[in-house]
């Protein structure tokens, strides 16, 4: 399998595929921009929360799917962002915007520390350590009631002040954060850093031998995704205006993971859309009560077992043509679809 025929064969195809992808993304964005004109207030709130989950699930997919670090502390970093700005506001009267900046910085700083600590852990140990970290933090927030108000919940100033009752501005802000973080992560994944991260995920020793600074990129991935989670949490806090330690229970983490995995954990857009669709779906299916989550749990396990790429990624592939990889695979047709992510990562046309 030399690289030469691949380039010759597929440059035009690759080009039109790019256009198709960006075109589809643009259409989605335009639809998103007009959502407030045809959606009533409650639905709009649901969609804002869905965007919040989309930020979490896509950034977790960057950490887990691209960097291969299956952290269970992602919603804990979200809570760090929310509680940092909340406590700065409550105890020092700092304005929300400054608080949000500090929330992001705090999430990043803790992210660097935790990222550096878990660096050498095998996956199971990393999962255990991040669960422990997340739970200790939750117990601390529950316990230190004078600082955090514990289970009573901490009140935050609304971001735009108490006068703004309309949810429309909040909708556009959350959308902007979602689109901004997605563009940033997309750029990151396509850059050398993304390539290094995937190289580290596939074979850490080989990557190190090739001169990739494994330590730096692993910690970097942890810090960046933690900051994104912190940003989402800080803004979420100033939107819903009350937060409690329940926002970081492990089942919340499970929900975020389910969103990313059902969408497609190795594709940022698929993970984000998974978050949006599942959150909206959960609201729409409210009449089924708790059974909704049972179905999602079952779906999660089945997808893990039978469709490693999630539900949306294969759909994307169908819509936007099969691309250079698939044409190549006609020669080596014995390889089943599910075992493809290795090739997908390295040819840099995975999204």
């Amino acid at each position: 399998m030399s690289t030469k025929p691949r380039l010759q064969l597929n440059l035009p195809a690759l080009f039109s595929k790019r256009i198709l992808q960006w075109g589809a993304a643009l259409i989605l964005l335009v639809v998103a921009l007009f959502v407030p004109t045809f959606v009533e207030t409650y639905r709009l709130h649901v969609i804002i929360i869905a965007y919040f989950y989309a930020i979490l699930s896509s950034s977790w997919s960057l950490l887990a799917g691209y960097a291969g670090q299956f952290s269970f502390a992602h919603v804990a970093f979200m809570a760090i962002g929310a509680y940092t700005t909340g406590m700065l506001g409550k105890h020092f009267g700092w304005p929300p915007l400054v608080g949000i900046v500090f929330g992001v910085v705090m999430a990043g700083a803790v992210g660097i520390a935790i990222g550096a600590l878990v660096l050498r852990f095998k996956p199971a140990y990393l999962a255990l350590f991040t669960i422990a970290f997340s739970e200790i933090l939750r117990l601390l927030i529950r316990g230190e009631t004078q600082l955090t108000r514990g289970d009573h919940g901490l009140h935050l100033e609304p971001l735009l002040g108490a006068d703004v009752i309309s949810r429309v501005p909040y909708y556009y802000i959350m959308l902007a954060i979602l689109v901004g973080t997605l563009l940033f992560m997309h750029w990151l994944v396509r850059s050398r850093i993304g390539l290094f991260l995937r190289a580290v995920r596939e074979d850490e020793q080989a990557a190190a031998a090739r001169g990739v600074d494994v330590v730096r990129y692993k910690v970097l991935a942890f810090a960046i995704t933690s900051m994104i989670a912190g940003l989402a949490g800080a803004f979420y806090g100033h939107y819903v205006t009350i937060i409690s330690p329940n926002m970081m229970v492990l089942t919340q983490m499970g929900l975020v993971m389910a969103m990313a995995i059902i969408g497609g954990v190795e594709n940022l857009i698929a993970a984000a859309l998974g978050g949006i669709l599942i959150q909206v779906g959960l609201e729409e299916l409210r009449e089924f009560g708790a059974w909704r989550l049972v179905i999602f749990g079952a779906l999660l396990m089945l997808i893990l077992r039978f469709a490693r790429n999630g539900l949306l990624t294969p759909l994307f592939r169908l819509m936007f043509g099969l691309g250079p990889r698939a044409e190549l695979r006609k020669d080596t047709a014995t390889v089943p679809e599910e075992s493809a992510p290795v090739a997908e990562g390295v040819t840099a046309d995975g999204a």
Partner: protein, 297 residues
């Protein structure tokens, strides 16, 4: 001094029960090489099984239900193992480490929500084994907890006997030491996997059934005991049976003493789990193979 003895004995009793649950996790880890992130949910199901069976068949002594709850947990574990974990060992999954973490966590998500949907969020409490308290001389302890501790002690002993003295125990140990060598002498490692997972899940369910009369069960009751079991197996050394027993007792004592002597009692109680978690993070950072763990690679 009385206070010290009293909380020490409570800690010991709880420690034995913790050890029982952690042993299940260790059994699974040492044979299948995976951490069961749904361990707490088998504990939760054990509690619910005993509650549901007892309310269906009134007149049964609560103690008789405990083995039934264990069997229910083991059956569920067996089904899950065959459907979702066996493919790992048949090389049908890529990136098996992550898959095992996610799929067991997915099971936990599924089971919590299933219980929530089927039984509801309200706490349930099966009938006591023996109502009232027992005077141990140094302290009084509730009959339920003493029963749970004593039964756990017997079960831990029985488990040690099975592992060390019977054919099946020998086969399990062989698989945990070297799969290929075990296969050469005719041990089917796939069925050993199923046995180990079912037994581990069953032990967690038994622990849940034993503690359900003391602490009532809710769908999310499994989180604390499962995290505690992770702490214990890491402290004792992943895959070490001796480690799980010592680790369980140590964590039982630490939780009880730290909560008892924490300056602010109400906060001490809230942080009970956090003390164990701190030990856990320290062990992971300083001595990842724990007290009795095998040296990795």
């Amino acid at each position: 001094m009385d206070f010290f003895l009293s909380i020490t004995s409570t800690g010991l009793v709880m420690g034995v029960i913790y050890a029982l649950m952690a042993l299940g996790l260790t059994l699974i880890y040492s044979i299948l090489g995976i951490v069961n992130f749904a361990h707490g949910e088998f504990y939760m199901l054990g509690g619910y099984a005993s509650y549901l069976i007892l309310s269906a068949l009134s007149g049964l002594h609560p103690l008789l239900v405990v083995p039934l709850a264990g069997l229910a947990g083991a059956a569920l574990g067996l089904i899950f193992e065959i459907l979702f974990l066996r493919p790992i060992h048949q090389d049908r999954i890529d990136r098996p480490d992550e898959y095992a973490i996610l799929v067991t966590f997915g099971l936990s998500f599924f089971l919590i929500n299933l219980t929530l949907a089927a039984v509801g969020p309200y706490p349930h409490r099966p009938d006591s084994f023996f109502p009232g308290t027992v005077n141990l001389g140094i302290t009084r302890i509730s009959g339920d907890r003493l029963t749970a501790g004593a039964l756990s002690l017997i079960l831990v002993g029985a488990l040690l006997l099975i592992i060390n003295k019977t054919w099946i125990g020998k086969a399990l140990r062989a698989v945990s030491q070297d799969k290929q060598a075990a296969a050469v002498v005719g041990i089917d490692s796939l069925s050993m996997n199923s046995i180990a997972f079912a037994a581990g899940a069953g032990l967690a369910a038994v622990a849940g059934a034993l503690l359900a009369p003391s602490f009532s069960v809710t769908p999310d009751v499994g989180a604390q005991p499962s995290i505690r079991s992770y702490v214990i197996i890491v402290l004792g050394g992943m895959g070490s049976i001796k480690g799980s027993i010592f680790g369980g007792v140590i964590i039982g004592l630490v939780e009880s003493l730290a909560a008892g002597y924490f300056p602010d009692p109400s906060r001490g109680l809230k942080y009970k789990t956090a003390f164990g978690l701190l030990i856990f993070m320290l062990v992971l950072l300083v001595r990842p193979r724990g007290l009795f763990g095998r040296k990795e690679e």
